[in-house]
């Protein structure tokens, strides 16, 4: 069954999924924090769109609510907060030098393949949308982790963390028509609190090590000097 046999909504959703993944790749290669946050907001927006379309196409009104929450949190609040911190801490001019950018991108690409490889056998009975969407969201999660591994700015870590959340959210929305409402609300609440805490931590970290470079936070190690 090829993509041509699907309805348009599904085609849109799949395209958005591809775009979400693309945005993950862009973030992975992004050294400037403001652009990173911007791309993150775009990713969030595409997620919201996908959710809204899914809500419409599956006729599932409660997905609208989750779309709204996501919009508020991931597209507006978190990017705004991050941007504010970047400006406040005067980090908008810093460019993070990423080593082995090519290798990371190739690694990211193989992660996508790997996601398919992992989920393919178990999804044989399901629809293609589902398989693709789940695989892509797993890829987004893994790419988010890769982002955190390759970047050493605390803010980039938060972006990576949130993009993992995006991936999870996408998976929940597309594959299962959203989790039960209670759970969604709980998750959203957790994300909100986490975001606030991240903000607090930026200040603490900055005041303690005078930068947000996580590589400088290695007092607690056990390696022989």
């Amino acid at each position: 069954m090829g993509i041509e046999n699907l309805d348009h909504y599904s085609q849109i959703i799949l395209s958005l999924a591809a775009l979400v993944m693309l945005s993950s790749f862009i973030m992975l290669a992004q050294g400037r924090l403001l652009r990173l946050v911007f791309v993150f907001a775009v990713q969030g927006f595409m997620l919201v769109s996908a959710t809204a379309i899914a809500a419409y196409s599956f006729n599932n009104p409660h997905l609208y609510i989750s779309a709204a929450i996501t919009l508020a949190l991931k597209v507006i609040f978190i990017p705004w907060m991050l941007r504010r911190h970047i400006l406040k801490l005067n980090m908008h001019r810093d460019v993070e030098a990423l080593n082995n950018k090519t290798a990371i991108m190739m690694g990211g690409a193989s992660l996508v393949v790997f996601s398919y490889y992992v989920l393919h056998p178990i999804m044989q009975n399901s629809s293609m949308v589902l398989l693709n969407a789940l695989s892509l969201s797993l890829a987004v999660i893994l790419l988010g982790m890769l982002l955190m591994i390759s970047h050493h700015q605390a803010i980039a870590h938060v972006v990576g963390f949130m993009s993992i959340e995006n991936g999870l959210f996408f998976a929940a929305t597309v594959s299962t028509n959203g989790m039960p409402m209670v759970v969604e609300l709980g998750v959203a609440f957790d994300v909100l609190v986490a975001a606030v805490l991240f903000g607090i931590f930026f200040l603490h970290i900055n005041s303690s090590i005078d930068s947000l470079d996580v590589d400088k936070m290695n007092r607690l190690n056990e390696v022989d000097q």
């Binding site: 790997f114 992992v118 056998p121 982790m145 890769l146 955190m148 290695n218 056990e222 390696v223 022989d224």
Partner: protein, 705 residues
Amino acid sequence: MILFLAYAAVLLSFLSGILALLMRQHCSVIKWVHYCCTKRPDWQQRLNNWLEQSVYPQRIQQLSFICLGMAGVFAMIAGVGGLMSEQAMTAQLPLGLPWLPWHVRFDSLSGLFFLIIGIAIFAVSCYGPGYVKGNNEQEHPFAVLGLFSGLFIAGMLLVLLADDAFFFMISWELMSVASYFLVAFQHENSANRHAAFIYLIMAEGGAIAIILAFGVLASFSDGGAFTFDALRNASLSDTWASVAFVLALVGFGMKAGLVPLHVWLPEAHPVAPSHISALMSGVMLKVAVYGLIRFSFDLLGDIQWQWGVALMIIGAISALGGILYAMMQPNLKRLLAYSSVENIGIIFMVLGLSMIFVAKGHPTLAALGFVAALFHAFNHALFKNLLFLGAGIIQHQVHSLNIDDMGGLIKRMPHTSKLFLIACMSISSLPLFNGFVSEWLAFQAALQVGVLDDAVLRSLVPVMAAALALTAALAAACFVKLFGMMFLGLPRTRHAAKAEETQDKGMLFSLSLLAGLCFLFGIFPGLMINLLDNVALQLLGHSLPNATAAGWLWLTPVSAEKASYSAPIVLFLAAIAGGISYRYLRRDPAMALRESETWDCGFGGLTPRMQYTSSAFTMPFRRIFSKVWIIDETITKQPGTMPLQVTDIHYELHVSDHSWPKLYQPIEKSVNRIARLVSRMQTGNIRVYLSYSFFTLIFLLWVIS
């Protein structure tokens, strides 16, 4: 009934520990007394007076030791009862795991070791009050000492009672841990801390091996049950039985101090308080012997002759190694500790011999070896306790444990020296004393090797017997040196010159008691051997054919034609010979002794420093067996001195054990190396941590799909 006596012994030793805990609780005890005796004001008054503040600590100490003494008496009675009864007594205690209550069993083997422990703790309880009297309560609290002594003794007794692996391990570890605290008692010395650490780790290692041994056995038992009854019925293949045996040998050998697993022993025994060293060296090692006997003879059952050979060889190495190391020690208690290694080696050797006889189908000879081993265990407990207790007195008086700081004590401490001499004679296995009898029995067992049809074994066993002879001779040399350096000659230090005989009756009484028993069982070994025969009967199914065939005066383990020994007659003859020569030669009053200066070759001015020191005494041995030790000798001469001016030559000697650098340091090093490698994982960089998580995820996903 006997079982209740055994329980009483255990409970009393617990009680003694708990009483010791009250050492600093004067106020609450008084309050409690008031509360309890409100109706009897006269009692209250009396108790109040009795527990007056100034004498309170002493009272508590006395009470605690009285409890211990009673525990000893009960243990002795229970032990003798157990030895005499034909049947094993069993019971269950409502403790332990939900479906595995503590099983208790008291048979003659337990009885024997109860008797050993009972005698030892009785002696210790007489000795203890005098020993702890001078202690500084702030510095070395009696509460700790008493509590852990009580737990330690209770642990040992419980090991003997245990009839399932779980209970056995609990009691075993209780014994180990409590004695660990006792080793660490004077923890302000770094040597004590070091010793305690080594002891604890090795005890843990040993316990692990024992658990594994039980585990192997249990996995072949019916339904994996852990009661000894189930383990007895387990049917193992020969290989697995051997695996279990080796594990048990390592585990129990660790505790018993077999070379090369002995390294904790010379560290731990010397640093504990002397009465505890006595218990550790004299009794706790015996509990390990008990464990091995119980495990191999009772639980494993089908004994293979290879085990016996292994035991004999390891025992011979321990015996020779132990006594050679002992000989080089300047520290009295270290020397005694190494000598325990030697004696344990002898016991294991003889046990091995017994195993060979069992496996080759000669049960009566096996019984002979078995009895010899048990008797030696019993004897060693007596004289080693005596030696350690004596060492405690001497340490109090001379303020040192270094043999080269002593000398001439025979005049300053007449009683202690006589008792110590008896112990030295017993341990050197001289006739008329108990040590000799057990070695004699061992030789008798070894000489029956002709019945075996395996030529290798037939030639191996006599070689082992010769090793035993060498050990005995070396032991004699060692203890001659010990006694000579400590008690004879001139005092080498000020402290030694000013040492006084101890005034404490209890201490001397306990020494005399043990010395008396050494002598008693040296003259009438039949008393004990008849009891031991029961153990052999219960465990091996056979007893000695006719130990007293030629009447109670004679000991004839095999038959009257083959060998016989009559200590009473020997004693009688010796007394006659000595008496006649003494009377005859001293009849002329004109021939009274004349005192004079010692002959000094005409140079004048003999000083105590001209005497042979302990390292000088053992120098020939050091040369002959030089490969056995790591010898570090340094001679430094002051520059510019005359060639023959010896006062400017400084000689230093360090003798140490091979097993430490060869066996333990590599282990320690590799653990440290792995730990260093492992800790590289903790880099401190969060991105690295994230990548661990990432790759773990990838890996698992890859594995699963």
